[in-house]
Symmetry: none
Subunit: 279 residues, 4 copies
């Protein structure tokens, strides 16, 4: 298992400041020791429309120079354009699918192989079955595009933020109904906590279909500063043979944060656990 | 003075849920009694690219049917596209200006005459003077476009969220340097509180240049549930002859909220103050 | 709309003390002014196996003498026998269905017409689809039995306590799939709060299928002592033409409670709202 | 002294979820290192009516395969059937005695030799002397049945939950009055804390009659995470020659818990204390 760090806390999403350019962020995370960076597709880092071929080549070169990989990418839902794949507005659903495709391509251009899929949310007045169908149709289209790039799409249950794919079983059901071989599932310990559920239950239920893991504790704090049992979680991940990334998605929900600090605390706490002889 | 309500808490920005369609939101705010609605340019309500001429005509008709006006509009900064007018990325600055123009046009199409201007924020590595210049250049271009529509642009100091135009004087300086007659200023009691400043100081300093007012109390709570002195504020506004809107921008920073409740509480508290014999 | 009070806080479930006999509880609630009592099927009040025909006749007579009706009944899940309709143990599922039937019969014997259906929960290792199927099969059998008694079965989403029927849409889907005319839905404001959702959203979505309502605020506190907007809720219930009960299900999760006090506070707060001229 | 772990936190009592099947629970506790398991007689683990001879043989075989013993069993009071041995309802008292007998038999079938006796509670309107008499009569009948199985009945003062046998002396008096050689006493550090009493006082007072010990700290937290002096407690237990089990009864009063985590923390903290050279 390798450690990655999600860039939200260094970006302008969802909180505008503090904000660092992508090159600065790459250098800092590599220096702390991370194996990889999970890049959110938000300004000023990686909104696809803002990055032409030259800019992408430059980022890739910078990643190589710093010895750090791209573990994964994800869009930034909820801003002006929404990107809600289950929106009642057809124009928004269309744009959301396009954005996911653009992020998949950008991910591939930067050497990443995992695209996270936030399954949208129900707006008042939309039947759940209808929202589910829109979400699944969008996922199929995104997955087809991603397959051509060798990118796996990982469905994430986001109970703390949304109301459609909220649970372990919800993500698994969405995955199965999509019937696409490059669609898998993932989970985030923060969302497990929101549901008062046990992270290892997700590990055993997702098993071989588990393609990615997000770590965050209560209040989006760093592992070690909350109440999740990371030793037990790593043991369970070994039980099911997981060899992907553990990506910290922390600290981004507040302005009063020192990104390097939270990144370093998380790394220092998790590194011994994933390299422990107890494996 | 008339009362308006900002739509964020009914939309998917910045928190995804709860979320209501725009027609539902218009009907509910009109039923509570608001004179006007301040529409945020975010999905699923009013992202300009998602609304063609027919959709705009339909909204305008719905507003008329419900006897409620559009007081103002504003973009939703901070999501994927950023819309930071002071971004170090030229592509983002370009896109931000375009978005402001689109929102100005949409505002006009819906009968509104005020466009709020969030003056961007400094990303690490950008000199403040440079950020300021980019912000001013963008404002000039936006103001020129808005002037053709009869729309006034109100610069808002947003100290709680940003780091560029943070104060009463910052907003006034930005306004003056722009040298455009349709650029004015506004303030939000919430940002005053963040700086531990006195809202009526803003009223007297901004005086005849005050084009719009946002009301919100600590934690973006409703007027009456916090610590701002609204009676004093209304008296000061009368002193300077303000006859614009008081727009509640509240409750949108959390998921645990009943939008109708916060809208009704704010209305019930403010309505007697603005219609009081004390004028 | 009439006001009812749920008996848990006066019983030995789930907290053993304080505990009052049923006759004492009936007299106290009638004296406070409640129109009806919602009787939980737990000792020492109304575990069906403990009440023969004579005891049932005596209770019915006592209810009549005190001028108070039975609004509804519900089983007490989670103790020794579990009564989890989605249990992996066939013996437990069988026993759960039997218990629901017994409670339906007891409800009818006491003059009640609503049986609440707690839809069970997933035990580790059970697939959600499997749990759902078991739950639905049990509901069909219970509903068939209840139909013969003129009893309506109301499916309650219990997000705070369970993990199967958690949401408004989940309850509606379970209702529809059962295809039984006497199966309806209900909601509890406490569970809405647990999901950070808006109670009136449940009212409008459930509409004509809404057969019962539970009121409780954060920490199972009385209406008026928390944050739910009851004025808005009553208005929404009138919008959809609801004329059933509002049953307080409060205070039962702690030992440090005075049942009469919490019952009186809730009544005094809600009574003016439901009799208000604003209807 | 050997370490055991009580299954409530893995079961559906009193909180419904998380919930694990008994086989999973046995395997997990054995893996952590526990010598024994204390099995609560609640679904889905071990409600006697749900376990036929074949199921009991299977559990016994699984225990042997995992090298873990059954330290003890106890009923789950407070749900629908109550199982209050001091209930004013004769039918409930009768059923409670039957349930205790069934649990004693099941305990014996699984190789356990200790049955915990929760001495019931007073319902409003019952005189304490009357409740005491009912409790003692029930205990005599249960003890007689248990004697035939070689099972010891340990009376537990449960001050935090009940109002009848609340103290060290209350338990000893109940034991003596029963005049049955297989009736002994036990205590739980959590109930000592509730009374602001000193656990070692219980050890010295109960002395040779001490048949079982429950460990739990404030808020039913794991030993080591609260304020009980476990080193002193172990020393006192050695003073009186105690060679029974220390059973953790923790974490079961909340939904937000990782059972493995709390079980591992408790084990890791207590194991060195009970194997320490200080003996």
């Amino acid at each position: 298992m390798r450690l990655a760090f999600n860039t939200w806390v260094y970006s302008s999403f969802p909180i505008w400041v503090p904000s660092y350019p992508l090159d600065e962020t790459i250098r800092r995370l590599a220096r702390i020791g991370y194996d990889a960076i999970e890049i959110g597709a938000a300004a000023p880092h990686a909104y696809p429309d803002y990055l032409d071929a030259a800019a992408r080549a430059e980022i890739r070169s910078l990643l190589a120079d710093n010895g750090i990989a791209v573990s994964s990418m994800l869009p930034a839902p909820g801003g002006g354009p929404g990107f809600n794949v289950a929106s009642p507005l057809e124009a928004e659903r269309r744009n959301a699918v396009d954005q996911y495709k653009k992020v998949a391509t950008l991910c591939s251009d930067l050497g990443g192989e995992i695209l996270l899929y936030v399954a949208g949310w129900q707006v008042f007045g939309t039947q759940q079955e209808q929202a589910w169908d829109w979400c699944r149709a969008a996922l199929r289209e995104v997955a087809h595009h991603a397959a051509g790039l060798g990118v796996t799409v990982a469905v994430e249950p986001t109970s703390a933020d949304s109301n459609l794919v909220e649970s372990c079983d919800g993500a698994l059901r969405m995955m199965r109904e999509t019937e696409a071989p490059n669609v898998k599932v993932m989970f985030d310990t923060y969302h497990c906590l929101y549901r008062n559920e046990v992270p290892t239950d997700y590990v055993y239920a997702m098993g071989a279909d588990l393609a990615h893991v997000h770590l965050a504790d209560i209040n989006r704090g760093a592992p070690g500063d909350g109440r999740v049992d990371y030793a037990g979680l790593v043991a369970a991940l070994r039980d099911v043979g997981y060899d992907g990334y553990l990506a910290m998605e922390i600290g981004f929900d507040r302005r009063a944060v020192e990104p390097d600090n939270i990144a370093r605390r998380a790394y220092d706490y998790m590194k011994p656990l994933v390299t422990g002889v107890g494996r």
